[in-house]
């Protein structure tokens, strides 16, 4: 085993994902304690240029036509071969649709422990954020090679970027009998409202309780010339289309005002609102993680508040 920290670089359709830079920044913190290098691992096909702005000491690049876009089987095979040979101290992957598919299979296959939902690195320890952001867990880096899946929020993507292209070392990739293949990408459905260019968003979550109550949020949004968006549970219930969803699988938004009504603020949601100028959170639960990122908050039942708020906004406008 060497003391290097490997980061599996994630990208989608030629665009490096922010989580890749976040992981490089976290890996730097960890490598300072282990004394090893930060090594990016880039798998692709004619994709070498994606390595140019990675803040890594070295990038290992594996090229194969079946790696042009991510599939779990091809990545698993490619990484298993590489990690068996190199045995780095730790391997970071995103807690994402990419990293989440392969970390677990490789952990079992290679016998590595796996630390989930890594948020920051502190003195060589991994600080994870679990239970919807309500609990933090501190774990020492195990003495064996370890997988760490990372969530965003603990580092800024810019911390993992560099103007100095890293040295790139080709690695050989052998793949056979692939069981998973990508047929096509299906573009997101175009909604009636583009929530990514709204100045005011009224965001509703589980706390809205029923489809009928959405009209209250609509009314407030109309008064403020904004639109209604939501966290995942509202979309999963079929109350709003997926084009209105903010967060991990949904949109990232950057409004001047993000008024979160009955949204707890799980990490999967928070990652879509990091560019909002001002977040105001209304929640009945004083421990809701949304208050940790909001500028203003109030612990109150949204249904007790909203009529007063609508009235006060009407009076003021």
């Amino acid at each position: 085993m060497n003391q290097d920290i490997y980061v599996i670089i994630e990208y989608i359709r030629g665009q490096v994902s922010d989580i890749s830079y976040v992981m490089l920044a976290a890996a730097r913190d960890l490598a300072e304690v282990t004394g090893g290098k930060v090594v990016g691992v880039l798998l692709g096909h004619n994709s070498q240029d994606l390595a140019n702005n990675l803040a890594a000491d070295q990038v290992l690049y594996g090229d194969h036509p079946a790696l042009a876009e991510f599939t779990s089987d091809a990545y698993k095979q490619a990484l298993k071969g590489l990690l068996t040979d190199h045995q780095p101290r730790a391997v970071m992957l995103g807690s994402t649709t990419i990293g989440g598919d392969v970390a677990g299979m490789l952990a079992i296959s290679l016998g590595y422990p796996e630390i989930s939902s890594g948020f920051t690195i502190s003195d060589g320890k991994v600080i994870s954020k679990i239970c919807g952001g309500k609990i933090m867990a501190e774990t020492d880096l195990p003495e064996t090679s370890t997988f760490i899946t990372m969530i965003p929020g603990g580092y800024k993507p810019e911390q993992g970027q560099s103007n100095q292209p890293p040295p790139i070392t080709p690695i050989s990739v052998t793949l056979d009998d692939l069981k998973v293949s990508l047929r096509q990408f299906i573009e997101p459905e175009v909604g009636d409202v583009d929530i990514t260019n709204q100045d005011v968003l009224i965001a509703i979550g589980r706390g809205i309780q029923s489809e009928d109550n959405i009209e209250l949020a609509d009314e407030l949004a109309d008064l403020l010339n904004g639109a209604v968006c939501s966290s995942r549970p509202v979309v999963d219930q079929g109350w709003l289309p997926i084009s209105r969803m903010v967060g991990k699988s949904g949109q990232s938004v950057k409004p001047k005002l993000y008024l979160a009504l009955g949204i707890s603020g799980a990490p999967e949601h928070i990652e879509g609102v990091s560019d909002a100028e001002m977040i105001i959170a209304i929640n009945i639960d004083p421990n809701a993680p949304i208050f940790d990122i909001a500028k203003y908050g109030a612990v109150v039942d949204l249904f007790d508040l909203i009529d007063y708020l609508i009235e006060a906004v009407e009076d003021a406008s």
């Binding site: 952990a107 079992i108 239970c131 293949s181 990408f185 990122i293 500028k295 007063y308 006060a312």
Partner: protein, 255 residues
Amino acid sequence: MTHILVTAKMVPDLVEELEIDDSGTALDMTWLRLIINEFDDHSIEQAILLKEKHGGDVTVIAPDFEGIDDVLFTAAAKGADRLIKLTRDFEEGVNNHALARAYVETIKLQNPDLILTGVQANNDLDGSIGPYLAELLGMSYVGYISGVSLEGDKVVVQKEYPGGLIGEMEVALPAVLGIQASEEPPRYVAVSKVRQVMKTATIEEQEIPDLDPRGGLDVNSMYLPEAAEKAEMLEGDEEEIAAKLVEILKDSGIL
């Protein structure tokens, strides 16, 4: 005939106040209310939708936590054919490595074509169940799934990417899928129907004598997050809070 297996587990209800136990390294389970992992609930729904469309049968398998019988009988009321409960004292704690290994022998006997699991659970700390099962059973795994259709010896899945993008993927069977959301919201079943099912359905019990937690973690400490900058909290009754919010909106040029 397609044999679909679903795993389900109970997780802390995050609406409740969470506390750390005396050891300082785990959640205090004493007063904790447990609910079904919502992604497992979606997995059950997706399995029933597949059964309704393509035929086949659905088995739901779950470790024995408080409340699991209701979850299993509810699954039967929705259309699950077979219910299996893994029994031992899980409430002393079980990591996902141990739980996955506990599932494996029972699952092998079932010989499923397709296994659906929730893509994650809110208390996952040492990885998630789906990829572990896939590797232990020698199957493929694809997660973050919000649509599944069976096409002969493979499934075609809708895999979620950021920004609403979907990757349509083909996965050879047998396979494990990590379900993010079922194609329809989990259906509601009346309590009376669940009670009726309880009279006829049986929960088969499979005892798990030993747990193998290798690969799990030794947690140093757990704690509630301390935000560097917490929100400025607005106090008062609802009317006063509404007035303060309007002042903030005015000051920031939104009104």
